[in-house]
Symmetry: D2
Subunit: 362 residues, 4 copies
């Protein structure tokens, strides 16, 4: 399905070279201030064309509100955001229709949809759709940044004077960065390697989340790891995900890997768990990493099947592509993480269904 989430639920649609791409967000609390300006920084981060290694294709990427926003606030009704596809050169792709490009969805899409799919620029499978994820992520991040205080009535006697402060959130902060490109921690060096080889290259991105309460995640199937892994693999080109020490944990002894709990808030001495134990956040920093494969489209010629002749031929993939798609992924990774966490925070009743005037929104 093209939807994700239980309470804060997003549905994305669109094709790379179609009319538009967009997202519908259902279940967003009412009263959240929201303007086009809120979206620009993250949309800018996602764009190619500024860094070496990213595509020269540039979309304006201005979000167009089609529903759910009124007087610069969310209404509680579904929010529809559209992005028009203006900067397309479909002719690049028409020529390649005969060849299912290696590493791309061309072949599998044809098998699944019987040739009816919009094949231009990977159509619905395109990385272009991540603009919708980023837009939904902007809203999720705003929700997570709310500073809230929860109270409870100790004696249940309906008198405000008996109220006890329960817990306070200063907001949740999510930050992704690229750890390495082509195996190099010096990103420029990794990138230059690809440019020199006239080839594309992969990378590894890390995401760190601070300010999380303990207990987010649902046993047995909806652990924080399960949900983040689920949505992370919706980002095109992701090939692996690991939490905390991750694959390295498989080589460790238990006494090394275990994180000693040091205080009643659950602070641990080390953080091999990456902030997730038993599928639930434990109140420490959440840390996870994803692997991004090299862009499938490379400047080099490649072998692949010619559907018309039925033979393997050489072809070069036209179109404007990123040498290293990993460069654009950090903001997308933050976005999908925010989408999962906003949903869990609502389920846990830590984000209210109506944002009141007195709540602070950063």
């Amino acid at each position: 399905m093209n939807s994700f989430g239980r309470i804060f639920r997003i549905s994305i649609f669109g094709e790379s070279h179609g009319e538009s791409v967009g997202v519908v967000i259902d279940g967003c609390p009412a009263g959240l201030p929201l303007t086009v300006e809120d979206f620009l920084p993250d949309l800018e981060r996602r764009k190619g064309g500024k860094q070496k290694g990213t595509t020269p294709r540039q979309e304006e990427d201005l979000p167009i509100f089609k529903s759910g926003v009124f007087h610069d606030k969310t209404t509680g009704a579904p929010i529809t955001i559209l992005f028009e596809n203006k900067n397309t050169r479909s002719s690049d792709y028409e020529k390649q229709r005969d060849f299912p490009r290696p590493g791309h969805a061309d072949f599998v899409a044809q098998k699944k949809f019987g040739g009816n799919e919009d094949y231009r620029g990977s159509g619905h499978f395109s990385g272009r759709l991540t603009v919708s994820l980023v837009a939904a992520g902007v809203i999720a991040k705003k929700l997570l940044s709310l500073k809230t205080t929860h109270f409870h009535d100790k004696a249940n006697n309906d008198s405000a004077s008996s109220v006890q402060k329960d817990e306070t959130f200063d907001g949740i902060n999510i930050l992704s960065k690229i750890l390495e490109i082509g195996g190099e921690a010096d990103l420029d060096k990794g990138l230059q390697k690809a440019i020199d080889s006239k080839d594309s290259i992969g990378g590894i991105i890390e995401c760190r989340v601070n300010g999380l309460p303990a207990g987010l995640g649902e046993p047995f199937f909806d652990s924080v790891e399960s949900q983040i892994a689920h949505i992370v693999f919706a980002i095109p080109a992701v090939r692996g995900v690991e939490f905390g020490t991750g694959f390295a944990a498989a080589k460790m002894f238990g006494s090394e890997h275990n994180d000693a709990i040091e205080n009643p808030e659950g602070k641990t001495r080390t953080n091999h768990a990456g902030g997730v134990v038993g599928g639930l956040t434990n109140g420490n920093e959440m840390v996870f990493r994803i692997a991004i494969k090299p862009t499938s489209s490379t400047p080099k010629e490649q072998n692949t099947l010619n559907w018309t002749t039925g033979k393997v031929e050489n072809t070069s993939v036209k179109g404007r592509h990123d040498l290293c798609i990993a460069l654009r992924v950090p903001v997308i990774l933050e976005s999908v993480t925010a989408i999962v966490l906003a949903d869990l925070m609502m389920l846990e009743q830590k984000i209210p269904r109506v944002i009141s005037v007195s709540s602070s929104v950063s």
Copy 2:
């Protein structure tokens, strides 16, 4: 939630030291032959106690059908399977109530459920619940093993003579194995390392699936990778998952990583993609790996908080535990993979809703 799946949908329940654990399977096709004997081999594989490195705790693990099976066949109604917990020694755990065991769900469960959780032996967070996954997996595997032929009517003229054979499935085969223990491909060696150190140890498991049609998986969020990653992280102790070349892909050039398509069935020369492109199966072998952390309970004493005193103390974790939980995971990994694939095959209409007498069931 404790449920997973869209058409073939499982719900698991139970606690390690409670009355029982079990599973309800909703949406299973009617007419599938099913007896207790079908479950025994996989349940046996999951059990500890035979290999060095696994727990001396032994449950009989006999599945008790409570609904959905009639005359040794599935009826189409929900199948409920119960496993009684007979071999429990809860007293081991009562003593440890003061200490949230490092690496276990004790602390987070208390935070989430306010102290109401059944804390004995990790309660609902226990690896004991994987017996339910294995039981559901047995049914899913039987469905996947069906040999089926699909036909279509070329001219749509309602005459059987115009019928064309569409596609044939010889059944889908899933096989997991342990690649390494504690970093050693010689599993005995890795295990001995832990025994010598009086410590626990982790491992890496690989799963390979053959016989898959191309096109399984749903854009954008329900890719095969998303769904497998989702359910895989429901297995306690999993810390990472990677498909095909996985994390190593992040260091490769595109021209190396791309798998050239060689024939109209989509056979590729190499299989760096691990059989999944664009989130869909591509008809080649599906390959993925998971990392299992070392068992959190170790024979060694560990530092942790004493909830009563509020201080960090030394404690040793009583109970009967596996030195290397990874030893028990291969059959569980096969099971959850089968659960995902059975659901996708039903969605794709490649497993019928009623298994007819003429279908072959292995």
Copy 3:
């Protein structure tokens, strides 16, 4: 599917003459006091055998907790409740296998499940499964009966002294009663009519809910009416549902039907809307009615197909049946209503995820 609900989610299973029937409740808040005794009054109300017009079949109907309850409280993990089927006489049904009983699911179940269904006593389609609904309803009612007070921090300055009482719930109360049997408001008279005619008879049940906050229900598809209607039609024998003035509204003028709002809490002068406007509760009493068809099994002989001979024959339906199933429905109607409302109250964050010691549970 055999599941219902988004946060408070129930899954039912079982067959009339199988091993057992039962229910799994996922998402129930932790900390709710729960014992077998809580269930007995409503289970008793549902039972036949005491009133004229109900079946002589009597089940003991003792709920057996299989998971999710620990130290007489809910744990937050799935609650599994089993009811054993002790008092069955399947031989009654084996004889009737040749005849799909008119008004029963025999024919459609055979069509859907290809003859694999458990046909004894309607199998999974039996009214016997409503015992699971009543069990889930008992828990839902306990949640709805909680008296809670919500606070908010007017100035968001983290000081308890600035806290304002937000809203108080005294608990939600649900009450169903039979309005008429066979068209007679004098129930005994309606029932006697059926006894005299050696026939079965239908009836109309009304449900009234008090103490509801305004705003429950979700646009566009998950209105209160949509959700109640959905679950109400899961009760066997229901043929219609209407809210407020219902079908009679179709004959009214707008100026008659509209309920004038009289105060800021939304109290209305009349209640033609039955407490639901725009799909949301409006804070007034919720009122709706359902129509129950006469029991399909009648003492009289009936015409139906003989599957073996392919001819229409006379047959009499053996088994022990209610003359008027409507007599047993009021408690079931309350139960399903409570299930819907508990889910909506959790979504609306008006029932907490952990019931604290200071909350009052009636």
Copy 4:
């Protein structure tokens, strides 16, 4: 939630006086021919302004495809259809902001969304959104109209010559009509009554479905009745739904109400069940009725609260409204019925996931 359906899944969005209303349809089979022209007849039927009794507000209602359609066929990706709101006069509503209109969602929306809702012309609660239901219904109807033949291989020996014709569908036909207006079977008479009284009036609509296979619907909660009732109550102004004999069944004897089965296809002598037994279609005509309340906006002045003064005052509801909204409902009722049935037919594997060239689409 603003989504409905399990496989064929629709999400609607928009507000009466906002930028636009629309729908995303996920899970529609690929290859279905689709053009703007397909939508015009049903959109025309839904429009007001032609009949006496309907609103003079006229929208152009041209569907704009934003995704999922390529070369005049569905692609298998989500289909997004937008309708721009051109013909709005919001100033009518700004004046009424002080008064929650009786019978409208003004009051409950304010309670639920804290005053952030778009209140103009009922905003997201407006009947305007039914244009999205009709658009989705057009696609669902096209799917249901497909003529298909299913085959199975009797001996499972992979030879086309052994293939047996399994079942043939000539397409499913859905037809709604108004049974009465204001209690009058002569619709003009009922309407004139309202015009003469300067008031609004309600009505009753019946829907009949032919060509259904037996066995559609899922026990226990997703019966055909449950699903149709669920979506029917999403249509604004619906107050009741009944199947077959409906509420009248409550007055009948079992021997009268039961429909004798007459042949192996399940044809019944009478159809009191309205084609649904045990929650499943039985292969006979499906018949159900809904009650529509009189339009809440009436030309007459009405009493209601003034939010500013806190007092009850007289107000007249401005805006352009239907005297009898029931006049526009038949096509909407057909649409939502088609949406439910398309989903069930896909679940039952009776509509394929790819529509092949040889399938006939009417």
